[in-house]
Protein backbone atom coordinates (compact mmCIF):
# COMPACT_ATOMS: atom_id res chain seq x y z
CA UNK A 1 0.00 0.00 0.00
CA UNK A 2 1.55 3.23 -1.11
CA UNK A 3 1.77 6.38 0.96
CA UNK A 4 -0.38 8.34 -1.48
CA UNK A 5 -3.12 5.74 -1.29
CA UNK A 6 -3.07 5.74 2.48
CA UNK A 7 -3.31 9.49 2.54
CA UNK A 8 -6.26 9.44 0.15
CA UNK A 9 -8.12 6.85 2.27
CA UNK A 10 -7.47 8.80 5.40
CA UNK A 11 -8.79 11.92 3.76
CA UNK A 12 -11.92 10.08 2.62
CA UNK A 13 -12.51 8.79 6.14
CA UNK A 14 -12.05 12.23 7.56
CA UNK A 15 -14.52 13.67 5.10
CA UNK A 16 -17.08 11.02 5.94
CA UNK A 17 -16.66 11.60 9.65
CA UNK A 18 -17.00 15.34 9.21
CA UNK A 19 -20.16 14.85 7.21
CA UNK A 20 -21.64 12.54 9.81
CA UNK A 21 -20.87 15.05 12.56
CA UNK A 22 -22.38 17.92 10.66
CA UNK A 23 -25.45 15.82 9.84
CA UNK A 24 -25.90 14.89 13.47
CA UNK A 25 -25.44 18.49 14.50
CA UNK A 26 -27.91 19.63 11.84
CA UNK A 27 -30.47 17.09 12.99
CA UNK A 28 -30.17 18.26 16.57
CA UNK A 29 -30.40 21.93 15.54
CA UNK A 30 -33.46 21.12 13.46
CA UNK A 31 -35.08 19.35 16.38
CA UNK A 32 -34.36 22.32 18.64
CA UNK A 33 -35.86 24.64 16.08
CA UNK A 34 -39.00 22.53 15.78
CA UNK A 35 -39.42 22.37 19.56
CA UNK A 36 -38.92 26.11 19.94
CA UNK A 37 -41.36 26.87 17.11
CA UNK A 38 -44.02 24.59 18.58
CA UNK A 39 -43.59 26.11 22.04
CA UNK A 40 -43.76 29.63 20.58
CA UNK A 41 -46.93 28.88 18.61
CA UNK A 42 -48.58 27.35 21.68
CA UNK A 43 -47.62 30.36 23.81
CA UNK A 44 -49.05 32.76 21.24
CA UNK A 45 -52.27 30.77 20.90
CA UNK A 46 -52.78 30.47 24.67
CA UNK A 47 -51.97 34.14 25.25
CA UNK A 48 -54.34 35.39 22.55
CA UNK A 49 -57.26 33.07 23.36
CA UNK A 50 -56.84 33.39 27.12
CA UNK A 51 -56.31 37.14 26.89
CA UNK A 52 -59.38 37.76 24.77
CA UNK A 53 -61.55 35.63 27.08
CA UNK A 54 -60.21 37.41 30.16
CA UNK A 55 -60.62 40.90 28.74
CA UNK A 56 -64.17 40.24 27.53
CA UNK A 57 -65.15 38.68 30.84
CA UNK A 58 -63.76 41.69 32.67
CA UNK A 59 -65.49 44.25 30.45
CA UNK A 60 -68.80 42.39 30.49
CA UNK A 61 -68.82 41.69 34.20
CA UNK A 62 -72.17 43.50 34.58
CA UNK A 63 -73.89 41.06 32.23
CA UNK A 64 -76.64 39.07 33.91
CA UNK A 65 -76.08 40.85 37.22
CA UNK A 66 -79.01 42.31 39.10
CA UNK A 67 -78.31 45.85 40.29
CA UNK A 68 -78.62 45.57 44.05
CA UNK A 69 -80.81 48.03 45.87
CA UNK A 70 -79.66 50.06 48.82
CA UNK A 71 -77.25 52.89 49.45
CA UNK A 72 -73.55 52.67 50.12
CA UNK A 73 -74.12 52.34 53.84
CA UNK A 74 -77.68 51.14 54.31
CA UNK A 75 -80.51 49.34 52.57
CA UNK A 76 -82.90 51.48 50.57
CA UNK A 77 -85.09 53.47 52.91
CA UNK A 78 -88.55 54.62 51.96
CA UNK A 79 -88.76 58.36 51.40
CA UNK A 80 -89.16 60.27 54.63
CA UNK A 81 -92.58 61.83 55.14
CA UNK A 82 -92.73 65.28 53.65
CA UNK A 83 -89.80 64.80 51.28
CA UNK A 84 -90.98 65.37 47.75
CA UNK A 85 -89.35 64.11 44.56
CA UNK A 86 -90.33 66.14 41.58
CA UNK A 87 -89.07 65.79 38.05
CA UNK A 88 -88.76 68.99 36.09
CA UNK A 89 -87.58 68.27 32.56
CA UNK A 90 -84.18 66.62 32.94
CA UNK A 91 -83.79 67.73 36.56
CA UNK A 92 -85.04 66.06 39.70
CA UNK A 93 -85.82 68.16 42.74
CA UNK A 94 -85.80 66.38 46.11
CA UNK A 95 -86.49 67.77 49.54
CA UNK A 96 -89.13 69.24 51.75
CA UNK A 97 -90.78 72.20 50.04
CA UNK A 98 -90.04 74.52 52.96
CA UNK A 99 -86.31 73.76 53.07
CA UNK A 100 -84.24 76.95 53.32
CA UNK A 101 -81.11 75.92 51.43
CA UNK A 102 -80.56 74.32 48.07
CA UNK A 103 -77.73 72.89 46.03
CA UNK A 104 -77.43 71.69 42.44
CA UNK A 105 -75.61 68.44 41.68
CA UNK A 106 -74.43 67.76 38.12
CA UNK A 107 -73.35 64.16 37.75
CA UNK A 108 -73.04 61.25 35.36
CA UNK A 109 -73.82 57.73 36.56
CA UNK A 110 -70.74 56.42 34.75
CA UNK A 111 -68.29 59.02 36.01
CA UNK A 112 -65.93 57.50 38.61
CA UNK A 113 -65.37 60.75 40.50
CA UNK A 114 -69.14 61.25 40.67
CA UNK A 115 -69.23 57.83 42.32
CA UNK A 116 -66.60 59.00 44.80
CA UNK A 117 -68.58 62.16 45.48
CA UNK A 118 -71.72 60.13 46.11
CA UNK A 119 -69.84 57.78 48.43
CA UNK A 120 -68.33 60.63 50.40
CA UNK A 121 -71.29 63.03 50.61
CA UNK A 122 -74.42 61.14 49.47
CA UNK A 123 -75.45 60.05 52.98
CA UNK A 124 -74.89 63.53 54.47
CA UNK A 125 -76.81 65.19 51.66
CA UNK A 126 -79.74 62.80 52.07
CA UNK A 127 -79.73 63.36 55.81
CA UNK A 128 -79.95 67.10 55.26
CA UNK A 129 -82.75 66.53 52.75
CA UNK A 130 -84.68 64.26 55.10
CA UNK A 131 -84.34 66.67 58.00
CA UNK A 132 -85.87 69.40 55.88
CA UNK A 133 -82.77 71.60 55.71
CA UNK A 134 -81.87 71.07 52.09
CA UNK A 135 -83.35 70.90 48.62
CA UNK A 136 -81.25 69.17 46.00
CA UNK A 137 -81.60 69.59 42.26
CA UNK A 138 -80.05 66.60 40.55
CA UNK A 139 -79.00 67.31 36.96
CA UNK A 140 -78.44 64.25 34.78
CA UNK A 141 -75.36 64.77 32.63
CA UNK A 142 -74.64 62.33 29.78
CA UNK A 143 -71.03 63.50 29.58
CA UNK A 144 -69.57 60.01 29.26
CA UNK A 145 -72.17 58.58 26.93
CA UNK A 146 -69.47 57.27 24.60
CA UNK A 147 -67.34 55.89 27.41
CA UNK A 148 -69.12 52.60 27.89
CA UNK A 149 -68.75 49.65 25.54
CA UNK A 150 -71.33 49.46 24.02
CA UNK A 151 -71.89 53.22 24.34
CA UNK A 152 -75.06 54.73 25.78
CA UNK A 153 -75.05 53.79 29.45
CA UNK A 154 -74.80 57.41 30.62
CA UNK A 155 -77.91 58.43 28.75
CA UNK A 156 -79.86 55.23 29.45
CA UNK A 157 -79.19 55.46 33.17
CA UNK A 158 -80.00 59.19 33.28
CA UNK A 159 -83.26 58.57 31.43
CA UNK A 160 -84.15 55.64 33.71
CA UNK A 161 -83.51 57.67 36.86
CA UNK A 162 -85.86 60.39 35.58
CA UNK A 163 -88.48 57.73 34.92
CA UNK A 164 -87.95 56.46 38.47
CA UNK A 165 -88.52 60.00 39.73
CA UNK A 166 -91.98 59.91 38.13
CA UNK A 167 -92.74 57.01 40.47
CA UNK A 168 -91.20 58.74 43.48
CA UNK A 169 -88.22 56.37 43.60
CA UNK A 170 -85.48 58.63 42.34
CA UNK A 171 -83.26 58.74 45.42
CA UNK A 172 -83.27 54.98 45.91
CA UNK A 173 -82.68 54.44 42.19
CA UNK A 174 -79.88 57.02 42.06
CA UNK A 175 -78.17 55.53 45.10
CA UNK A 176 -78.39 51.99 43.74
CA UNK A 177 -76.84 52.98 40.40
CA UNK A 178 -73.91 54.68 42.11
CA UNK A 179 -73.47 51.86 44.58
CA UNK A 180 -73.22 49.40 41.68
CA UNK A 181 -71.39 51.79 39.39
CA UNK A 182 -70.03 49.96 36.35
CA UNK A 183 -66.45 50.51 35.22
CA UNK A 184 -65.82 53.19 32.65
CA UNK A 185 -65.04 51.57 29.31
CA UNK A 186 -66.97 48.46 30.27
CA UNK A 187 -70.44 47.25 29.42
CA UNK A 188 -72.59 49.30 31.80
CA UNK A 189 -76.12 48.02 32.42
CA UNK A 190 -78.63 47.43 29.68
CA UNK A 191 -82.21 48.63 29.65
CA UNK A 192 -83.51 45.30 30.92
CA UNK A 193 -81.32 45.60 33.99
CA UNK A 194 -82.36 49.22 34.50
CA UNK A 195 -86.04 48.21 34.33
CA UNK A 196 -85.42 45.35 36.75
CA UNK A 197 -83.84 47.70 39.28
CA UNK A 198 -86.92 49.92 39.23
CA UNK A 199 -89.18 46.93 39.76
CA UNK A 200 -86.97 45.68 42.60
CA UNK A 201 -87.38 49.09 44.20
CA UNK A 202 -91.14 48.66 44.05
CA UNK A 203 -92.07 50.57 40.89
CA UNK A 204 -95.19 48.92 39.50
CA UNK A 205 -96.28 51.51 36.97
CA UNK A 206 -95.88 49.93 33.49
CA UNK A 207 -95.01 53.37 32.14
CA UNK A 208 -91.64 53.08 33.89
CA UNK A 209 -90.46 50.22 31.66
CA UNK A 210 -91.87 52.01 28.63
CA UNK A 211 -89.96 55.16 29.50
CA UNK A 212 -86.69 53.27 30.09
CA UNK A 213 -86.97 51.25 26.90
CA UNK A 214 -88.25 54.11 24.79
CA UNK A 215 -85.73 56.69 25.98
CA UNK A 216 -88.56 59.09 26.84
CA UNK A 217 -86.32 61.74 28.40
CA UNK A 218 -83.24 61.37 26.18
CA UNK A 219 -84.00 64.49 24.23
CA UNK A 220 -84.64 66.56 27.35
CA UNK A 221 -81.38 65.30 28.89
CA UNK A 222 -79.33 66.12 25.80
CA UNK A 223 -80.90 69.57 25.45
CA UNK A 224 -80.25 70.37 29.09
CA UNK A 225 -76.69 69.13 28.70
CA UNK A 226 -76.07 71.52 25.79
CA UNK A 227 -77.32 74.38 27.95
CA UNK A 228 -75.10 73.21 30.79
CA UNK A 229 -72.02 73.30 28.59
CA UNK A 230 -72.79 76.90 27.63
CA UNK A 231 -73.58 78.09 31.16
CA UNK A 232 -70.83 80.48 32.29
CA UNK A 233 -71.75 79.89 35.93
CA UNK A 234 -70.81 76.24 35.57
CA UNK A 235 -67.41 76.97 34.17
CA UNK A 236 -64.74 75.96 36.60
CA UNK A 237 -61.04 76.55 36.59
CA UNK A 238 -58.99 73.39 36.59
CA UNK A 239 -55.66 73.19 38.47
CA UNK A 240 -53.74 74.07 35.30
CA UNK A 241 -55.69 77.26 34.75
CA UNK A 242 -57.90 76.05 31.91
CA UNK A 243 -61.64 76.46 32.17
CA UNK A 244 -64.55 74.22 31.37
CA UNK A 245 -67.41 72.11 32.65
CA UNK A 246 -66.73 68.84 34.44
CA UNK A 247 -68.57 66.28 36.50
CA UNK A 248 -69.37 66.25 39.30
CA UNK A 249 -70.19 69.92 39.65
CA UNK A 250 -71.82 71.08 42.86
CA UNK A 251 -73.40 74.50 42.73
CA UNK A 252 -74.22 76.47 45.86
CA UNK A 253 -75.70 79.94 45.57
CA UNK A 254 -75.00 80.07 41.85
CA UNK A 255 -71.33 79.18 42.21
CA UNK A 256 -69.44 75.96 41.68
CA UNK A 257 -67.96 74.87 45.01
CA UNK A 258 -64.90 72.75 45.63
CA UNK A 259 -66.49 69.68 47.17
CA UNK A 260 -63.10 68.12 47.77
CA UNK A 261 -62.56 70.71 50.45
CA UNK A 262 -64.15 69.34 53.64
CA UNK A 263 -66.83 71.51 55.19
CA UNK A 264 -68.39 72.77 51.96
CA UNK A 265 -71.72 71.13 52.82
CA UNK A 266 -71.80 72.62 56.32
CA UNK A 267 -71.09 76.01 54.80
CA UNK A 268 -73.86 75.53 52.27
CA UNK A 269 -76.29 74.60 55.04
CA UNK A 270 -75.18 77.48 57.23
CA UNK A 271 -74.49 80.19 54.67
Amino acid sequence: MGGAERTARKRRQQTQAARAVSQARGASADRKRVIVTVVAVVVVAVAVIGGVIWINASKNSTEGQAITTGTNSAPATPPVAGVVEKRDGAVVLTGKPDAKKSIDVYADFLCPICGEFQKAYGPQIEQAVNSGQLLVRYHMVPLLNKSSDPPGYSLDSANASLAAADSGKFTAYHDALFKNQPEEGGRGYDKGQLVKLGQDLGITDPKFAEAVNGGTYNQAINDAYQQTLKDPNLEQTFPNGKKGFGTPSIVVGGKVVNWQQPGWLQQALAG
Binding site: V44, G185, G186
Partner: protein, 175 residues
Protein backbone atom coordinates in the same frame (compact mmCIF):
# COMPACT_ATOMS: atom_id res chain seq x y z
CA UNK B 1 -10.08 53.05 14.76
CA UNK B 2 -11.10 51.24 17.93
CA UNK B 3 -13.87 48.80 17.23
CA UNK B 4 -15.89 47.54 20.20
CA UNK B 5 -15.44 43.83 20.68
CA UNK B 6 -18.21 41.37 19.91
CA UNK B 7 -18.58 40.78 23.65
CA UNK B 8 -19.32 44.45 24.28
CA UNK B 9 -21.80 44.56 21.40
CA UNK B 10 -23.49 41.41 22.71
CA UNK B 11 -23.70 43.04 26.12
CA UNK B 12 -25.38 46.09 24.65
CA UNK B 13 -27.68 43.70 22.79
CA UNK B 14 -28.73 42.05 26.04
CA UNK B 15 -29.49 45.41 27.62
CA UNK B 16 -31.48 46.58 24.61
CA UNK B 17 -33.38 43.31 24.42
CA UNK B 18 -34.26 43.08 28.10
CA UNK B 19 -34.99 46.80 28.26
CA UNK B 20 -37.45 46.66 25.40
CA UNK B 21 -38.91 43.43 26.83
CA UNK B 22 -39.53 45.22 30.13
CA UNK B 23 -41.20 48.12 28.33
CA UNK B 24 -43.63 45.81 26.52
CA UNK B 25 -44.31 43.53 29.47
CA UNK B 26 -45.02 46.41 31.85
CA UNK B 27 -47.13 48.44 29.43
CA UNK B 28 -49.02 45.32 28.32
CA UNK B 29 -49.66 44.18 31.89
CA UNK B 30 -50.92 47.60 32.97
CA UNK B 31 -53.24 47.76 29.97
CA UNK B 32 -54.64 44.26 30.37
CA UNK B 33 -55.26 44.79 34.08
CA UNK B 34 -57.75 47.55 33.27
CA UNK B 35 -59.52 46.66 30.02
CA UNK B 36 -62.14 49.39 30.47
CA UNK B 37 -59.51 52.07 30.88
CA UNK B 38 -57.63 50.75 27.85
CA UNK B 39 -60.84 51.01 25.81
CA UNK B 40 -61.25 54.63 26.91
CA UNK B 41 -57.60 55.34 26.07
CA UNK B 42 -57.86 53.91 22.56
CA UNK B 43 -61.13 55.75 21.99
CA UNK B 44 -59.61 59.05 23.11
CA UNK B 45 -57.18 59.06 20.19
CA UNK B 46 -60.31 59.55 18.08
CA UNK B 47 -58.74 57.87 15.06
CA UNK B 48 -60.39 54.50 14.72
CA UNK B 49 -63.95 53.89 13.53
CA UNK B 50 -66.17 52.87 16.43
CA UNK B 51 -66.28 49.17 15.52
CA UNK B 52 -62.48 48.89 15.69
CA UNK B 53 -61.98 50.53 19.08
CA UNK B 54 -62.98 47.39 20.99
CA UNK B 55 -60.85 44.90 19.01
CA UNK B 56 -57.81 47.19 19.06
CA UNK B 57 -58.16 47.82 22.80
CA UNK B 58 -58.30 44.05 23.27
CA UNK B 59 -55.43 43.09 20.98
CA UNK B 60 -52.99 45.88 21.83
CA UNK B 61 -52.12 44.67 25.36
CA UNK B 62 -51.88 41.08 24.14
CA UNK B 63 -49.56 42.08 21.30
CA UNK B 64 -47.39 44.07 23.71
CA UNK B 65 -47.18 41.16 26.15
CA UNK B 66 -46.23 38.74 23.37
CA UNK B 67 -43.54 41.05 21.97
CA UNK B 68 -42.21 41.34 25.53
CA UNK B 69 -42.18 37.58 26.03
CA UNK B 70 -40.35 36.93 22.76
CA UNK B 71 -37.77 39.62 23.54
CA UNK B 72 -37.30 38.23 27.04
CA UNK B 73 -36.66 34.79 25.56
CA UNK B 74 -34.57 36.23 22.76
CA UNK B 75 -36.45 34.26 20.14
CA UNK B 76 -36.70 35.62 16.59
CA UNK B 77 -35.18 38.78 17.96
CA UNK B 78 -34.76 40.55 14.63
CA UNK B 79 -38.35 39.93 13.51
CA UNK B 80 -39.74 40.86 16.92
CA UNK B 81 -37.60 44.00 16.96
CA UNK B 82 -39.02 44.88 13.54
CA UNK B 83 -42.56 44.37 14.81
CA UNK B 84 -41.75 46.46 17.89
CA UNK B 85 -40.43 49.22 15.67
CA UNK B 86 -43.64 49.24 13.61
CA UNK B 87 -45.86 49.26 16.70
CA UNK B 88 -43.86 52.09 18.27
CA UNK B 89 -44.14 54.10 15.04
CA UNK B 90 -47.92 53.58 15.08
CA UNK B 91 -48.14 54.65 18.73
CA UNK B 92 -45.96 57.72 18.15
CA UNK B 93 -48.06 58.63 15.12
CA UNK B 94 -51.17 58.34 17.31
CA UNK B 95 -49.74 60.68 19.93
CA UNK B 96 -48.50 63.09 17.27
CA UNK B 97 -51.89 63.33 15.56
CA UNK B 98 -53.58 64.01 18.93
CA UNK B 99 -51.07 66.76 19.55
CA UNK B 100 -51.46 68.23 16.07
CA UNK B 101 -55.25 68.20 16.32
CA UNK B 102 -55.18 69.80 19.74
CA UNK B 103 -56.87 66.92 21.57
CA UNK B 104 -56.37 66.83 25.32
CA UNK B 105 -55.54 63.23 26.05
CA UNK B 106 -53.09 61.15 27.98
CA UNK B 107 -51.40 58.61 25.73
CA UNK B 108 -52.31 55.74 28.05
CA UNK B 109 -48.96 54.27 27.12
CA UNK B 110 -48.55 52.66 30.53
CA UNK B 111 -52.16 52.20 31.57
CA UNK B 112 -54.50 55.06 32.31
CA UNK B 113 -55.21 57.24 29.31
CA UNK B 114 -58.25 59.03 28.00
CA UNK B 115 -59.25 62.64 28.17
CA UNK B 116 -57.32 64.93 30.45
CA UNK B 117 -57.82 68.59 31.19
CA UNK B 118 -56.29 70.86 28.56
CA UNK B 119 -52.81 71.76 29.73
CA UNK B 120 -52.26 68.43 31.43
CA UNK B 121 -51.12 66.85 28.22
CA UNK B 122 -47.52 65.65 27.96
CA UNK B 123 -47.10 65.06 24.27
CA UNK B 124 -43.40 65.98 23.91
CA UNK B 125 -42.39 63.82 26.87
CA UNK B 126 -44.47 60.92 25.61
CA UNK B 127 -43.02 61.10 22.13
CA UNK B 128 -39.48 61.48 23.46
CA UNK B 129 -39.92 58.45 25.68
CA UNK B 130 -41.31 56.34 22.86
CA UNK B 131 -38.45 57.47 20.63
CA UNK B 132 -36.03 56.13 23.22
CA UNK B 133 -37.75 52.76 23.03
CA UNK B 134 -37.55 53.07 19.26
CA UNK B 135 -33.74 53.25 19.48
CA UNK B 136 -33.67 49.96 21.42
CA UNK B 137 -35.77 48.36 18.69
CA UNK B 138 -33.51 49.76 15.96
CA UNK B 139 -30.41 48.38 17.66
CA UNK B 140 -31.96 44.91 17.86
CA UNK B 141 -33.14 45.14 14.28
CA UNK B 142 -29.64 45.93 13.07
CA UNK B 143 -27.79 43.64 15.46
CA UNK B 144 -30.15 41.16 17.12
CA UNK B 145 -27.45 38.93 18.56
CA UNK B 146 -27.05 38.91 22.32
CA UNK B 147 -26.24 36.69 25.26
CA UNK B 148 -28.78 34.46 27.00
CA UNK B 149 -31.06 34.26 23.99
CA UNK B 150 -32.93 31.34 22.48
CA UNK B 151 -31.62 32.53 19.13
CA UNK B 152 -28.07 31.94 20.37
CA UNK B 153 -29.04 28.54 21.79
CA UNK B 154 -30.44 27.62 18.41
CA UNK B 155 -27.01 28.31 17.01
CA UNK B 156 -27.87 31.35 14.97
CA UNK B 157 -24.80 33.27 13.99
CA UNK B 158 -23.23 35.88 16.13
CA UNK B 159 -23.88 39.40 15.07
CA UNK B 160 -26.59 38.41 12.63
CA UNK B 161 -29.46 36.03 13.06
CA UNK B 162 -29.88 35.38 9.37
CA UNK B 163 -26.38 34.27 8.43
CA UNK B 164 -23.20 33.37 10.29
CA UNK B 165 -20.81 36.26 10.64
CA UNK B 166 -17.92 36.05 8.20
CA UNK B 167 -14.75 34.76 9.77
CA UNK B 168 -11.94 37.25 9.23
CA UNK B 169 -9.51 35.54 11.57
CA UNK B 170 -7.29 34.38 8.74
CA UNK B 171 -7.26 37.66 6.88
CA UNK B 172 -3.95 39.30 7.58
CA UNK B 173 -3.95 42.69 9.20
CA UNK B 174 -3.47 45.68 6.98
CA UNK B 175 -5.27 44.21 4.00
Amino acid sequence: MLRPSQAVLDGVGVLARLGLAAVWLISGALKISEPGQTYIAVQAYDVLPHVLVGPVATMLPLLELLLGLFLLAGLWTRQVAGASLLLLLVLIAGIAQSWARGLSIDCGCFGGGGQVAPGQTEYPQEILRDSGFLLLAVWLLVRPSSWFSVDRWLGRGRGNSAAPAPDYSEVPEGN
